[in-house]
C-alpha cells in the first residue's frame, strides 16, 4: 500500500537539505499543517451542511437547496459568506470575556480531534501511543465551551440549554468511552496507527464479532448524544429553548458553533470508522488475494471518507426520523440501560479475548 509518509519525509529531508535550520523546518511544517487542517475543516463542514440539507430534503419529499449553483451546490458558500459578514451583536449583561471565549473553546477542541484522525497510510498529524485516550480527553473540553456559552449569555433559555448539555455530554461520554475501550481490549493498544494496522486482515467489527457489534451500536447512540443531534438534541431543542445554549450568538461566533456541530458529526463518524471499520484500511478478505489487490487500488483517504460519510448518513437518518426525547428519559436511558449494558459488553469482550474467541 502506498505510504503518504514517503512524501512528508521527502519534504522534510528536502527542507533540511537546502540548508533550512531545524527550528525553521519545524515551524514551516507546523504552519503548513495548520493551513491544511483548517482548509480541510472548512471544506468538510461546508460539505456536511449541504450533505445534511440534501439528505433531509429527500427524507421529507423535498428537493432541498436548488437555486444557488447547479443543484444548489453553492448554497453553502452563500450561507457561509452571509454568516461571515453578519454583525457580532454584543448584549447587555453578558460576561463579555467568557461569551467570546466559548466559541473558540468549542472550535479548538474539534480541530484538535480532527488532527488525530488517520486519513490514510502515514497521513496523520497527531499519532502517539495514547491516541484514543487523547481524543476522549479533548472531546470533553467541548462541553466546557457549551457550558460557558450558556452561562455567559445571561439568558434563561441558554442556561437551561447549557445545563442540559452538561448533564447529557458528561453522561454519554461514559458509554462512549466504554464502547471504545471494548475495542481497545480487543486490539490491545490505544495507538491509532497500530489500531488501523491491526485491522489489515479483518475490521474489528468482524474480528470482534458480537461484542464488537454491540459496542458499535452503543457507540453510534452515544456519539449522537455527544454531538447533540436528534433525537438527543435537547441542548438546542428549538421547539423548547429557541436555540439552546447558542441563542444569543450571532455572526461568525454562531458560525463557529454551527461548524463545530457539523465537524463533530464527521469526527465521531471518523472515530467509528477507525475503531470499527478499519479507518483507511481497505476491505480485505484473508485468502482472496485478487480481491484484496483490487481493494488496495482505492486510495486510503477515499476509504476513510466513505466509511465516515456512511456512518454520518445513519446518524442523519435517525435525526430526521425520530422525535426528541425528554431530559429525564434521556438520562434514565443512559444510566439505567446504556451504561450497564456497555460495562457488561466490555466484560464479554474481555472474556472473548482471554479465551481467544475472536478472529
Amino acid at each position: 500500500m502506498f505510504n503518504f509518509g514517503q512524501w512528508t519525509t521527502a519534504f522534510n529531508n528536502w527542507l533540511l537539505g537546502i540548508g533550512v535550520a531545524d527550528w525553521l523546518t519545524v515551524l514551516i511544517e507546523c504552519v503548513l499543517i495548520a493551513v491544511a487542517i483548517l482548509g480541510v475543516y472548512t471544506v468538510l463542514a461546508l460539505f456536511y451542511i449541504l450533505y445534511e440539507r440534501k439528505l433531509c430534503a429527500w427524507f421529507q419529499c423535498r428537493l432541498g437547496p436548488m437555486r444557488v449553483g447547479k443543484w444548489g451546490l453553492l448554497q453553502v458558500f452563500a450561507d457561509m459568506f452571509k454568516i461571515l459578514i453578519k454583525e457580532l451583536i454584543s448584549l447587555k449583561g453578558t460576561d463579555r470575556f467568557l461569551f467570546k471565549l466559548a466559541p473558540y473553546i468549542i472550535i479548538t477542541s474539534s480541530v484538535v480531534m480532527l488532527a488525530c484522525l488517520p486519513w490514510g497510510n502515514g497521513l496523520q498529524i497527531i499519532d502517539w501511543n495514547i491516541g484514543i485516550f487523547f481524543i476522549l480527553a479533548v472531546s470533553s473540553v467541548g462541553v466546557l465551551g457549551i457550558l460557558l456559552a450558556g452561562w455567559s449569555s445571561n439568558n434563561k433559555y441558554t442556561l437551561i440549554g447549557a445545563m442540559r448539555s452538561g448533564a447529557q455530554m458528561i453522561s454519554y461520554e461514559i458509554s462512549l468511552g466504554l464502547a471504545l475501550m471494548t475495542i481497545v481490549v480487543l486490539a490491545g493498544t490505544m495507538d491509532i496507527s497500530t489500531l488501523v494496522a491491526e485491522q489489515e486482515n479483518a475490521w474489528f467489527i468482524f474480528s470482534g464479532h458480537i461484542p464488537a457489534l454491540i459496542a458499535f451500536i452503543i457507540y453510534v447512540i452515544a456519539a449522537t448524544a455527544e454531538t447533540n443531534r436528534g433525537p438527543f438534541d435537547l441542548p438546542e431543542a428549538e421547539h423548547e429553548l429557541v436555540a439552546g445554549y447558542h441563542t444569543e450568538y450571532s455572526g461568525i461566533h454562531f458560525g463557529f458553533f454551527y461548524l463545530a456541530e457539523y465537524l463533530n458529526l464527521f469526527i465521531v463518524s471518523g472515530i467509528a470508522s477507525l475503531m470499527f471499520l478499519g479507518g483507511w484500511m481497505p476491505l480485505h478478505v484473508p485468502g482472496w488475494d485478487g480481491f484484496n489487490m483490487v481493494m488496495n487500488w482505492i486510495p486510503g483517504p477515499v476509504w476513510f471518507l466513505g466509511k465516515a460519510f456512511f456512518i454520518s448518513f445513519i446518524i442523519i437518518w435517525f435525526k430526521w426520523t425520530f422525535p426528541r426525547v425528554r431530559i429525564d428519559q434521556m438520562l434514565a436511558f443512559e444510566w439505567k440501560y446504556l451504561m450497564p449494558f456497555s460495562l457488561a459488553n466490555m466484560i464479554l469482550m474481555a472474556v472473548c479475548v482471554a479465551l481467544g474467541w475472536h478472529f
Binding site: 421529507q60 434563561k156 436528534g230 435537547l234 421547539h239 423548547e240 429557541v242 430526521w320 425520530f322 426528541r324
Partner: protein, 541 residues
Amino acid sequence: MSDIKEKILKIYPEATFEEGESLLVNVAEKDWLKVATALRDELGFDVLTALVGIDWKDSIGVIYYLTATSRNWEVVAFKVVAADRENPYIHSVSKIWKVADFQEREAYDMLGIKFIGHHDMRRFFLRNDWVGHPLRKDYDTNPEINPIRLNDEENEDDTCVYELDEKGEVKEVPGKVFEEDEYVVNVGPQHPSTHGVMRFRVSLDGEVIKKVDVVSGYIHRGIEKLAEGLGYPQILHFTDRMDYMSAHQNRHCLCLCIEKALGIEVPRRAVVIRTMMDELMRISSHLLAFGTTAMDLGATTAFFYGFREREQVLDIFEKTCGARMSMNYNVIGGVIADLHPDFVKDVKELIRIMPDRLKEYNTVFTGNVIAKNRLKGVGILSKEDAINYAITGPSGRGSNWACDCRKVHPYGVYDEVEFDEVLETGCDSYARFLVRMKEIEQSCRILEQLVDRIPEGDIRAQVPKIIKLPAGRWYQQVEASRGTFGVYIESVGEKTPYRVHFQSPCFNLVGVMDICSTGHMIADLITVGAALDFVIPDIDR
C-alpha cells in the same frame, strides 16, 4: 320547557322567565352564587357553555348559557344584571365552573364587570394600562386616550381579588402572580412552538413546571367590537379569520345563527355542500395538528408528511372556493359559488389515499417508541375536569367525554349520515392525538356517504337585500375542528347587531394549560400545547 321552569322555581322561587329561542331566566345578582351552585349540584347544569357580558345602556350584566349534559344537552340561559352600572360587581362562578376563570377575565377586560371572589382579576386581552372597557356602549374610541404604547407593561405581576367584607362591601385585595424569588421563564409571544403569538410565563423548579400564567391578547383584533358597527353579511368574513383551521365550520355557525333568526330555509344542495366542506376542513385541520405535534416533539419529517396530504384538501378548496385559506364560502342562505366540476373526483381521490397515508403516519410517528413515551401520561385531564373546564372537541373526547356537537345538537345533514364519535379513555396527550387521527377516518366516512348524494338544485336561498334581524337573542353551536364553536347574537332590530359574542373552543383549551402542565418538565409544556392544538387567533379574536 315547562318542566325545567318548575325545577328552577323550586330552587329559586324569585326567578322570572323570558321566552325566546332558548329559555332565559332572570336571576338577581345577590342570589346568583347560591343559585349557580344549586343549578350545578341539583339540576345537573354541569357545563358553562358561554359567558356573554352585555351592556344594555341602562344596565350591565352577563348572560350565562348553561348546558345539562345528563338531560339531553338542554341549554338554558341565565341573565344576571349588576346593581350599579358605573361600577358593576357580579359574584364569580369560577369556582363552580372553572371555565369561567378566563371568561370572567375577558368580561372584566371588555366591560369592566368585576367578579367578586375571582382569584385573579386581571385584564385578559388588553394591556393593564388600557383606559376604558371597549364593549361598553359609552366607550370612547378616541385614539389619543389609548395611543399605541411603545413601552413595556409595568407591574405585569400585579393582580387583585375582590372580596366582600363583613359589612357586605366590596374591597380590593392586591396580590402577585408570581413570588419574588421564582424562576420565571418567558415562553413567547415569539416562540417556535406556541403556534402563533401566544405567551406563557412559566415558573420553573429546575426543569419542572410549577405554574403557568397565560398572557393573551397579542393578536386581539376586537372582532366583537368591530362586528357591532357592521352589517350581518360583513361580519361573516371575521369568522374565517378566527380559527383559520376551522374557517368553514365557524362561518357555517354564524350563517346558521342568522338564518335561524331570519327563518330562512337553506336549499338542500347547499346544506350538503356545507357539511362536506366542514368535514374537509376537519381533515385538513387534523392533518395540520398531526404535523405540528410531530414537529413540536422534534420529528420534523412527519410534519411534511401531514402537509403533503393537507395540500390535496387545500387544492379542493382552491378549485371551489377560490382560496386556500379564509375561503369566505358560506353566505347567509347558502354558499357563494357552486362546486367545481372536479370536486367529486378530487374528494374520491382523497378518500382513496387517506387510509394508506394514515398507516404511513403511524409507521413514521405514532408507532415510534420515543413519540409514545413523550405523549403518554403527559397533560392528564380527567373527564370531570374536561367537563368543568368545558374542553370540547378532540381534546375533550380524549378524556372520554362524549361532547360532539354533531351528535348532540345535529345540524347540516349530520343526523342522516353514519359516523362514530371517537372516544379515548387515556385522558392524556396521546389520547387527544389518537382521537384526531381517528377522526380523520370518520370524516372520510362521512364524505364517502355524501359524495355521490349531492342533490341538484339551488345553492342559496333568496335573502333580503338588507338583512335586519328581529329583536331578540340567538345562540348557535357547531362542532369546529377543535371543539364546540358558539355564536351569540343579540339584536334590537337594526342592520347591525347589538352584541355578537364568539364562544371559541380554543379559549377554553388554553385555560387548562396550567393544570395540564404543572408538575411536568418544560419540554412537556410544548407537548401539552401541541396535543391541545389551540389556534391563537381563535383565543384572542
